[in-house]
């Protein structure tokens, strides 16, 4: 192993800094959208009515599609999903020639073109990781909600609260505390997964390393640097999760 040539990294420093910011931006957005999408899916996954006409409707029009969705997104590689989203799904909607949104008159061809050119990879990365993280997060929500004793739901419903209000005020606050560790886990996974989007030209940290390693035919320096940066990111994230756990754990009378 030759010596560490710091000047290579220095020469491309702007690219690394921009890349780190892009990775952060992607992570923050994907964690938020992924969690919200996961909550929606998780509630859909639990949708059921004990009897009456709604029973079948909820089961086959809500619960089953969500189950299939989760199975599909957990059962295919994220890298493949990013490619499919970038080269098939997004063009389907915003392709200047025959995209649904363009021919539907919702956006002009010029807007579609500039959107693809300026934010194409970014948009695809966000969409793909959100869709993927949503599938994982929905299971975290389902587990969290199901872990709360049934008596809580029964008690608040018998107090006359609606189902929605019960969820908001009673069930989810308690469930959320239990969900924090796996949600933190998921956020850490998103930091690392965003590196896959460098293949579609998203200028993130991994992209900076690929560029430098390509230019200098050297792998040691750029990849060592970005692994340290990724590690710092994930470490800070896990610290944040720990703080949140402390903060939410305060009411526990132990």
């Amino acid at each position: 192993m030759s010596g560490f040539r710091w000047e290579i990294i220095q020469e491309y420093l702007p690219l690394f800094i921009d890349g780190a910011l892009m990775t952060l931006k992607c992570t923050v957005i994907c964690v938020i959208t992924g969690t919200l999408w996961g909550l929606t899916l998780g509630l859909g996954r639990l949708a059921q009515a004990p009897h009456g006409p709604w029973k079948q409707v909820l089961r086959f029009a809500v619960q089953w599609p969500v189950r299939i969705y989760i199975s599909a997104f957990r059962g295919t590689p994220l890298f493949v999903q990013i490619m499919v989203v970038h080269f098939a799904l997004i063009p389907l909607f915003i392709n200047p020639r025959d995209g649904i949104l363009v021919s539907g008159g919702i956006m002009s061809a010029d807007v579609a073109r500039s959107l693809r050119a300026d934010y194409g990879a970014f948009l695809s990365c966000i969409v793909a990781i959100t869709l993927n993280a949503g599938a994982y997060v929905s299971e975290i929500f389902r587990a969290g909600i199901q872990s709360i004793d049934r008596g809580q739901m029964e008690a608040s419903r018998s107090l006359g609260m609606t189902w929605g209000r019960t969820m908001r005020k009673v069930i989810l606050p308690q469930a959320f505390r239990r969900m924090l560790p796996p949600l933190g886990n998921n956020a850490i996974a998103i930091v690392k997964d965003s590196s896959l989007a460098s293949a579609i030209g998203l200028a993130d940290l991994a992209y900076a390393a690929r560029t430098v390693s390509g230019a200098y035919a050297t792998y040691w320096e750029p990849y060592l640097v970005i692994s340290l940066v990724y590690w710092v990111f994930t470490f800070l994230l896990s610290l944040m999760v720990q703080l949140l756990e402390k903060r939410f754990g305060k009411s526990d009378s132990r």
Binding site: F87, A199, S213, G214, A215
Partner: protein, 253 residues
């Protein structure tokens, strides 16, 4: 006793005659039609593959072809995983610091690919565009010089088809790639309606065969083999198979 010695020498000479030809492991990235690509039997094919096989035949060694991703391809030489890399590699000063190259075996130049309706007519006109390149290719180097190497207007892709797909989807306004590869792509994808733009700024460069830094014995073998296949017409025959009849004259270095 004497008979024993005679037998021994006879056995030794037999052994020397049947000595195994040396086998070298050749790495080649299989996403660079027509230079190297995988056929449906997962065999590598292409101009580069024919060249290295011909050189091996001329110099009497065996080759084992291994499809190696372009990403990290140079590192495989110094780690000893591969002995030879032939993968449409342009000889550049930066790369010469890392690996050693044979004499040139193919003249390569760059070309700008744009949609046929585009008004871009020169390299300078790319300054206002998002430009696609293949990561660390010669095109990447040329465009980096023009737009600045940390510019976010440069979109780097893993291979030419991926880059041209993005051009087709309007994610980039232009792409810069090796003329041989993009010509072949445009010929095989007429429905995408691309055209080529050349620029005087694109200098003539050459592809070389790479070996690990300091492996002069193997490099000299490859150079001698290349010289021989040019001299005996094998090179011209291979060139005509993949491109056209304008067989180039190769410089000595």
């Amino acid at each position: 006793m004497l008979r024993g010695i005679a037998l021994l020498t006879a056995a030794l000479s037999l052994f020397a005659a049947s000595v195994q030809a040396e086998t070298y492991i050749v790495g080649s990235g299989g996403t660079y039609r027509p230079f190297e690509y995988e056929n449906s039997q997962k065999q590598l094919e292409g101009f580069d593959i024919d060249i290295i096989k011909a050189i091996a035949k001329a110099e009497n060694f065996e080759v084992k072809l291994v499809n190696t991703p372009w990403e990290g391809i140079f590192a495989t030489l110094n780690s000893g995983d591969r002995d030879i890399i032939i993968s449409g590699i342009t000889i550049t000063d930066k790369r010469q610091k890392m690996v050693d190259f044979s004499t040139p075996y193919f003249p390569a130049e760059q070309a700008i690919v744009v949609p046929s309706t585009s008004t871009i007519a020169s390299l300078a006109a790319l300054k206002t565009q998002k430009v696609g390149v293949v990561n660390s290719s010669t095109g990447d180097i040329v465009v980096s010089d023009e737009l600045g190497k940390s510019s976010t207007a440069i979109k780097r892709f893993d291979n030419t088809p991926l880059m041209l797909q993005e051009l087709y989807e309007d994610g980039i306004g232009a792409a810069v790639g090796d003329v041989g590869v993009v010509k072949y792509y445009i010929k095989t994808h007429p429905e995408k309606q691309f055209k080529l733009v050349s620029d005087a700024k694109f200098e003539r460069q050459y592809f070389g065969i790479a070996v690990a830094k300091g492996n002069d014995a193997l490099r000299n073998k490859i150079n001698a083999g290349l010289k021989q296949i040019v001299a005996d017409g094998t090179y011209a025959k291979i060139y005509r198979t993949w491109f056209d009849n304008n067989v180039p004259t190769l410089p000595a270095q």
